[in-house]
Symmetry: C2
Subunit: 240 residues, 2 copies
């Protein structure tokens, strides 16, 4: 059996907050637990917040803004390696990490105050590793950590949470070469378990109620890897 | 807390199998539980299996097959409303239900015998509804039902399980108009909870060990809808 428990009672996360300590004080953590933390909380703790009054929009940002706040678009452009699609004021971008998502992950919901936007962590794997190390230090527990974010997807309606950073987790389960019950080899069956874990945790995260973390127990995702392993190389992406 | 339990001890599913009875006899089901059943099991019970010796490939199937089994491609073409991309022998297709996925959902892993392929159910929502009705009849429990399948996705590596049919479930959670803790309205935040539930269940389904069903407890997904609500209309799909 797998269980998913929200970490309740966390305060509003501010820059410099010791997220590992805040969570360890409110959740019972054991070896092999998977701690899923919403990107927004991680980014706020890391100070990845921009005040729009400090932003001077470029000409390109004004074009893409289509009459909406060009400063927000300017922040998105700065976070982007390339713009994948745009329909002003909506922008789908590839972030510097390689993630393709709306607004390059720049978000104003759940921002610390009006007039600010929250950016993705600079290195979400490293953010996850720091949380993992801090939890081990405080509790002795060897947990896996996923930093999650809500991404839209092509073809399908609605967002699902995916893993944008991870530590102590095997992001993909590769069944290639495994035989099914009839002895038929399962070709090319690679399961994005880290994304499924992030999505499962989202079910108990309160988008509005300030529950930015959850603990998954009973799934053995132990291993190593990077959230970059979940990015499909363009040349292999038949869907793209 | 949410729990996810595999339904263990199910036999190999054959055409005409009473899946609802098989599951109800092996799982404790209660009101508001969500029963997730792998598409392969549903399709086999419904006889959605094709023997390749009975298939005469068309000229187009031979072209797309690129030297591999053209009969399998022929079955894919028959299941497709349109071919989205192809790189022989790989085909991404839109099914008649509107789902965009590899091979139009036609799969030979976990097929009942060598030389056969399994198709998606004709109407996966109706399949889910029949399971829901049968479980109610046998146990009195009002469960939600999801028929799940493993889909690849653009941009990201690995498959995640998604809902291709459902009954007694609200597929999308729409937070539009909801305020976050800072009083900021959450624009356009629609969460594909049915897909997250399907992905969560996948974590306990054995792709190789014959565990085609799971029970999720503790998440209130009650409501109505169709898995077609999870298909993004082309004209609104900025990712496409």
């Amino acid at each position: 059996m797998i269980s998913i428990r929200p970490v309740e009672g966390l305060p509003e996360i501010e820059q410099g907050a010791d997220l590992g300590e805040l969570i360890a004080g409110r959740a019972e953590l054991a070896d092999r637990d998977i701690l899923v933390v919403a990107q927004k909380a991680v980014s706020k703790a890391e100070g990845r917040v921009v005040r729009l009054v400090d932003v001077e929009p470029s000409e390109r940002a004004r074009e893409l803004a289509g009459g909406e706040d060009a400063r927000r678009i300017e922040v998105i452009l700065r976070e982007s390696a390339r713009i994948v699609r745009s329909r002003p004021p909506l922008v789908i971008a590839e972030t510097r990490h390689g993630f393709v998502c709306a607004s390059a992950g720049v978000d104003s919901s759940n921002a610390p105050e009006a007039g600010t936007v929250v950016l993705l962590p600079v290195n979400p794997d490293a953010s996850a590793q720091r949380l993992r190390d801090r939890v081990r230090e405080l509790t002795g527990a060897e947990v896996g950590v996923i930093v999650s974010d809500s991404f839209g997807r092509p073809w399908r309606h609605g967002t699902t949470d995916v893993a944008i950073g991870l530590a102590g987790i095997r992001p993909l389960l590769d069944l290639k070469g495994t035989l099914d019950r009839a002895g038929y080899e399962l070709h090319a069956t690679v399961i994005a378990v880290a994304d499924e874990l992030a999505g499962a945790a989202e079910l108990v995260l309160g988008k509005t109620g300030g529950v930015p973390a959850a603990v998954i127990r009973g799934y053995d995702a132990g291993g190593e890897g990077s959230a970059r392993d979940l990015v499909m190389p363009a040349e292999r992406d038949l869907f793209r």
